[in-house]
């Protein structure tokens, strides 16, 4: 009341007359309130550059929450940019020859989850071997051609145009692999896997409750195994493909939408059908690749893409 009288706070009646100002004031207050935290986050920044020769090995262990992004360039250098939301996280970075270790450590065990955000952005030579371990937050790798082992509890893994021997292990995180080549092993409890336009010649996908989608070409002489305990296993192949297919489930169903394109096995092998599982064998083209699909209680769906 006093403040109103002194003119510091306008009377309610006066403010009511200027309703248009309220949203602006609210927005301004919100931005002002959020500004210090954001600024503090932006202030915590680590940038390093390491010269390497040959094929480097990059090892990252991120116990904080955050995103790890790795892209490649033509330089023989590893560039690391780390940002963190607070000073309750510390980055340890060291180089030993062509190996570079990056570890994000929690410095204060009492820190709140929001204070434990640490993002890493790396640019590495194309032929770099990666070993990444994180708890949550996305792992994104693009155009890297070395072998890689990527482990995460709850974070997703997105790979684009990578090749080599790729191992992905998650507890609940999902994998999206676009235009990947080489060999891929994926295992998860509840995470799903999407393999899109691949050039992979050896694939092992296993999830307990997640789904599996393979949309792309089966390389001749390639071996493909896709399993889901309870989820959907879906394969979309093209008419140019050549593979032998075995699909089986214990208590689930097989939804074969490409029956017209699947011939009986042409290699003269007599397959023994178990009374305890549902499924079938079939061949597309000359049956050069080998594809095995299975699910304990989920659905197996086979489709032709074109």
């Amino acid at each position: 009341m006093c403040l109103q009288m002194m003119g510091i706070i306008p009377a309610w009646s006066g403010l009511r007359g200027k309703r248009g100002i309220l949203p602006v004031l609210s927005a301004a207050l919100f931005v002002w309130g959020a500004a210090p935290a954001h600024a503090a986050g932006a202030d915590q920044r680590v940038e390093r550059k390491y010269t390497v020769s040959g094929k480097p090995v990059v090892v990252i262990h991120n116990v904080a929450n955050g995103r790890i992004e790795i892209k490649s360039w033509k330089n023989s250098e590893v560039d690391i940019l780390g940002t963190q939301a607070s000073n309750k996280i510390g980055f340890d970075i060291e180089q030993a020859g062509d190996r570079i270790d990056v570890t994000a450590n929690v410095l204060d065990a009492a820190a709140q989850p929001l204070e434990l955000e640490a993002n890493l952005q790396l640019t590495v030579p194309e032929e770099t071997e990666l070993q990444l371990k994180t708890e949550t937050g996305l792992i994104y790798v693009e155009q890297v051609t070395g072998d890689m082992k990527l482990e995460s509890f709850a974070g997703d893994v997105h790979l684009k145009e990578v090749s080599g021997y790729i191992i992905v292990k998650t507890t609940g995180g999902s994998l999206v692999c676009s235009q990947c080549a080489g060999k891929l092993d994926f295992s998860s409890i509840s995470g799903s896997a999407q393999i899109l336009q691949p050039q992979l010649n050896n694939v092992n996908l296993m999830t307990t409750t997640g789904n599996v989608l393979f949309d792309g070409e089966f390389v001749r002489t390639g071996l493909y195994s896709m399993k889901s305990g309870r989820g959907l296993v879906e394969v979309r192949f093209s008419s140019n493909d050549s593979f032998d297919l075995k699909a089986q489930t214990s208590t689930g169903t097989v939804d074969n939408q490409a029956a017209a394109f699947l011939k009986p096995d042409t290699h003269g092998v007599k397959h023994i059908y178990s009374n305890l599982t549902h499924g079938f064998f079939g061949t597309v083209g000359k049956g050069l690749a080998k594809v095995e699909l299975s699910s304990y209680s989920g659905t197996i769906r086979i489709m032709r893409r074109d």
Partner: protein, 254 residues
């Protein structure tokens, strides 16, 4: 002494103490000096290595699951273990032989009886007033009668319970038992954590437990189903890895 002799001396007698002749040769020969220096640094590095690193528990569990799945090993049927053929009276008499121990034992018995009486009264009181409400309250791990339960389990949510080792097929009994033993340790370590990661781990443990229970039940009805057997074996391995991750994480946080 020649360079060859230095190698022989080092092979037979080690680095120290070198004979006078060898020392004289080293003073003149640069190659041998660098050879001895390399050897010395190797020995030093070897001394700094940890003596032996024990592999994590999950390795043994996975190995056992794999061997059992392939039928290479089988868990022997449970048999009563007889340690010594001593009569129960003799062993009891020997135990109570010491007066101090006997007095302490009596004291513990009295205290236990008192605690039991107090608890019985309280439980009876609660039951009479809020019998239904008690069933909805989540019980902490330690309060559960069996160790085969996840942390957030309530009495009326028995579907989240870990499958009992006794329901596992005979060839997996050892693996299932080992996992059952580890589960309360793992869940106990992250029991109080509110971290979303720990919540996710607990949720995934629940999922894998449910899947294991389903496969075990199916195998009871269809023991010849090889596909289910393979899924069950893989689920045990996943559970072993998950428990190991929970323990590792719990230890690092605590």
């Amino acid at each position: 002494m020649q360079c060859k002799d230095i190698e022989t001396v080092l092979e037979q007698e080690g680095l120290e103490p070198l004979p006078a002749e060898a020392r004289e040769h080293l003073a003149e020969c640069r190659e041998c000096r660098s050879y001895v220096a390399d050897l010395t640094s190797l020995v030093d590095a070897a001394h700094k290595l940890p003596s032996e690193i024990a592999p994590p528990e999950r390795v043994w569990i996975s190995l056992r699951a794999q061997l059992e799945a392939e039928g290479i090993i089988r868990t022997p049927a449970a048999e009563p273990v007889v340690l010594e053929r001593v009569s129960w009276w003799a062993s009891t008499r020997a135990f109570f032989g010491h007066r101090v121990l006997a007095t302490a034992m009596v004291g513990i018995l009295i205290a236990s009886a008192a605690v039991f009486e107090i608890r019985k009264d309280r439980v009876a009181e609660k039951n009479s007033t809020k019998q239904e409400a008690v069933r909805e309250v989540p019980l902490p791990l330690q309060a559960l009668p069996s160790s085969n339960h996840t942390s957030n389990q309530t009495l009326n949510q028995k579907s989240t319970a870990a499958p009992s080792a006794s329901s596992a097929p005979a060839e997996f009994a050892g693996t299932a038992q080992a996992l059952d033993d580890q589960e309360p340790v793992a869940t106990g370590l992250i029991l109080s954590s509110r971290s979303p990661i720990d919540a996710s781990l607990r949720d995934n443990l629940k999922k894998v437990n449910e899947f294991i229970a389903e496969c075990e039940q199916h195998l009871k009805e269809h023991p010849q189903d090889q596909l289910t057997r393979e899924y069950l074996s893989a689920a045990y391995q996943q559970k072993a890895e998950l428990l190991s991750a929970m323990i590792e994480r719990g230890r690092s946080v605590n």
